[in-house]
């Protein structure tokens, strides 16, 4: 067995997993940065994206529209939820309440999905243009996974540019640092919050659509993935966008190489890493201390 070939193949696997994880972690961390809440419904929104994606594909006969429609639909649902329910809790200054309301939403969403689409897993076929493999270092690697890595990277770059270079991004960063000041300066902070929440949900949904061709849209997708999301956000730092990128890549590699070498330990290693980082830096690696 060729060592270089092995490393390359598994690293690519890790990056493809990291790409999906990034879509979840990015949204989670942005929402935390703005609202100081951990959105428990994020996993269910990811799952909703996959299912809406499936319906879009079934309706239009093509994969590509779902990449736009699913995030749009789920983003709107997320934004509505924030406006109707979460916004009322801000006055309460009770962090526990958000955790619980988003947890309740997670349950309701999961059930609604089951009732709407049924219990059978639904498959989204890979579009023809993305079928097949490429040989990298003599190892086969599916083109679709390269596409995933590409989409993840593109999303990371776009979000980064948005935060650094645009006025809206500037507002987002400002609100996450000092909401009251921004409000005093005349900006509608509530609108910023709704927007960021919707954006986070949309990203999770996009992650869901993209992962469906790999593993079908199935119930239980959400609860598996939400924990990974938390781990990443905590490792990378709550509220830190760069942290969500680093965290996703780190967790992707730990999962792939961990399960290769230490089958039994793979699961535990992620949580050990999370604990180790939290012990040293309670806000996560690059995070703002809570």
């Amino acid at each position: 067995m060729n060592v270089a070939g092995f490393l390359v193949a598994q690293s690519l696997n890790a990056l493809s997993q990291a790409a999906i994880l990034f879509f979840i972690a990015c949204g989670l961390t942005l929402i935390f940065g703005i609202m100081r809440i951990i959105n428990f419904a994020h996993g269910s929104l990811f799952m909703l994206g996959a299912y809406v994606g499936y319906s879009t594909v079934a309706w239009t006969g093509s994969f590509w529209p779902s990449l736009i429609i699913a995030p749009l639909v789920v983003g709107m649902i997320g934004g509505t939820f924030e406006k109707l329910l979460l916004a009322r809790l801000y006055a309460r200054r009770d962090s526990g309440a958000y955790l619980m309301v988003t947890f309740g939403l997670a349950i309701i969403l999961a059930e609604t999905i089951r009732l709407t689409w049924g219990p059978q897993p639904l498959s989204i076929p890979i579009p023809d243009r993305l079928r097949g493999i490429v040989l990298i270092s003599n190892q086969p690697f599916p083109i679709y996974r390269l596409f995933l890595i590409g989409m993840g990277s593109a999303a990371a770059v776009l979000t980064w540019q948005f935060l650094e270079r645009t006025r809206a991004g500037l507002l987002v960063r400002a609100v996450s640092q000092n909401a009251e000041m921004v409000h005093a300066l005349g900006t509608d902070v509530n609108a910023v919050r709704t927007g960021v929440f919707a954006l986070g949900c949309a990203m999770a949904a996009l992650g869901g659509v993209l992962s469906a061709p790999l593993m079908t849209a199935f119930l239980g997708m959400g609860s598996n993935v939400i924990i990974d999301g938390f781990v990443i956000v905590i490792i990378g730092g709550m509220g830190s966008f760069l942290g969500s990128i680093i965290g996703s890549v780190l967790v992707g590699f730990v999962q792939v190489f961990g399960s290769y070498y230490f089958e039994d330990l793979a699961l535990a290693m992620m949580y050990l890493l999370m604990l180790a980082i939290l012990i040293v830096r309670p806000g996560g690696m690059l995070g703002k201390e809570e």
């Binding site: 193949a9 598994q10 119930l219 290769y260």
Partner: protein
């Protein structure tokens, strides 16, 4: 005066609220008691939601078909009543739901349990519940060994060691020399891979490595890469439900079948349907092959196709067989009491959809033939079907008593 009215009102409303709450909590139970008391109740704690939900849905549809086929006549002049419960594949929930069936619904016949860990969880309680459990599809070899076997448990289906043995015997004449095995990391998967390891060595071939994937795992990229780089020529798979589907989808994306031949311990029609043309050529041992030409199977398959317009899957066939054997034992015992059923089922022989089945006395394992199938395109059906390529006699396939091993190599 107003005060005392208020007091009376408040006490009355409190009482009303309390009795209302009590009634709400008790009502389903009352409704159930009011129903007929004569039917024979068969409890089906199965997977209705969860990763193995497809298997549970098959269990239920076959039960409903059997119900229909019996036309209300039932056994011993009593109609059969199936009680379905959702365990989500969770052993703890299976214990809970089974206990409910026994204590609340007075139902002491249990079948339709999908996951081997669930079986392991309820078997120790059967004596206390005075309940009888016949497995239709639990494959863990250990269930019929000294460690886990209990008197009130019987297994009608092909077990994982039997499936592994069937495939290993077949592979003895195959061109591949080196194999690798991949199984789901729980009771059944470990049993299946372990048995295959033993059997493939017994026929003189090599097992290069064995890999276990976490239950519920979705991304198989790491493992697929491991398989590709192992240098093996064939891969033995012990995966079911969502896991089997995800694995195969991704394996096809990596073009794994071009590099090694995949063999599976279980061939599921539901999976074949999902993969379509990609499934053609897949070889596996099949717990039930709908094309097997015996009268009982013809009868079953025709009724099934007429009712559901779908090819019966392996769970359908095995569930039918288990019910067939259960009802035969009830007739023979003229009772539904556990002790009498045990005595009646031991040494019971039945002409089933899989051929002649003997329920062994020594370890309550049903002696089944072994079928090897190959998925091929079909002109008769809209999807590929598993065609029987070899059948092994039951004496060759069923392990030694109370064991998962075989004294003879075959």
């Amino acid at each position: 005066m107003k005060e005392s009215t208020q007091t009376r009102l408040s006490r009355r409303s409190l009482f009303r609220a309390a009795s209302g709450a009590a009634a709400m909590l008790a009502s389903p139970a009352l409704l159930r008691v009011a129903a007929a008391a004569t039917p024979i109740k068969v409890g089906i704690p199965t997977v209705i939601t969860g990763g193995y939900a497809v298997l549970g849905s098959h269990v239920m549809r076959t039960c409903k078909l059997v119900d229909k086929m019996m036309g209300g006549k039932g056994v011993l002049g009593r109609p059969i009543e199936f009680l379905y419960r959702d365990t989500q594949g969770n052993p703890a929930d299976c214990v809970r739901k089974s206990q409910e069936l026994v204590e609340r619904d007075d139902c002491r016949l249990i079948t339709g349990v999908v996951v081997s860990s669930e079986a392991r969880a309820i078997m120790p309680k059967l004596a206390e519940w005075k309940a009888f459990f016949i497995s239709h599809g639990c494959g863990d070899g250990l269930l019929t060994t000294k460690e886990f076997l209990v008197p009130n448990f019987f297994r009608a289906n092909t077990s994982a060691p039997m499936g592994a043995r069937t495939l290993a015997l077949y592979l003895k004449d195959a061109p591949e020399q080196n194999f690798i095995a991949l199984g789901s990391d729980y009771a059944w998967g470990r049993s299946s891979v372990g048995a295959f390891e033993e059997q493939i060595k017994a026929v003189g071939k090599k097992l290069v490595d064995k890999v276990f994937t976490p239950v519920g795992n979705k991304d198989y990229s790491t493992y697929i890469t491991k398989l590709i780089q192992s240098g093996a020529q064939g891969c033995y798979l012990a995966l079911q439900g969502d896991e089997a589907r995800s694995f195969f989808l991704q394996a096809t994306q990596y073009e794994l079948p071009k590099r090694l031949r995949l063999f599976t311990e279980i061939v599921a029609q539901a999976d074949i349907r999902t993969f379509g043309k990609d499934a053609i050529g897949m070889v596996g041992s099949s717990r039930y092959a709908f094309t097997y030409d015996v009268p009982e199977n013809k009868k079953f398959t025709e009724a099934f196709l007429a009712e559901y317009k779908e090819i019966p899957d392996w769970t359908d066939g095995e569930m039918y067989q288990a019910l067939h054997i259960l009802f035969a034992a009830i007739e023979k015992a003229d009772s539904v009491e556990a002790d009498k059923l045990v005595a009646a089922m031991e040494n019971l022989e039945v002409s089933s959809v899989k051929g002649p089945i003997l329920m062994r006395q020594c370890d309550h394992q049903g002696e089944n033939q072994g079928f090897v199938v190959k998925v091929a395109a079909s002109s008769k059906y809209p999807e590929p079907i598993p065609e029987i390529v070899k059948i092994y006699p039951r004496e060759m396939i069923t392990p030694d008593c109370l064991s998962t091993s075989y004294k003879t190599t075959g």
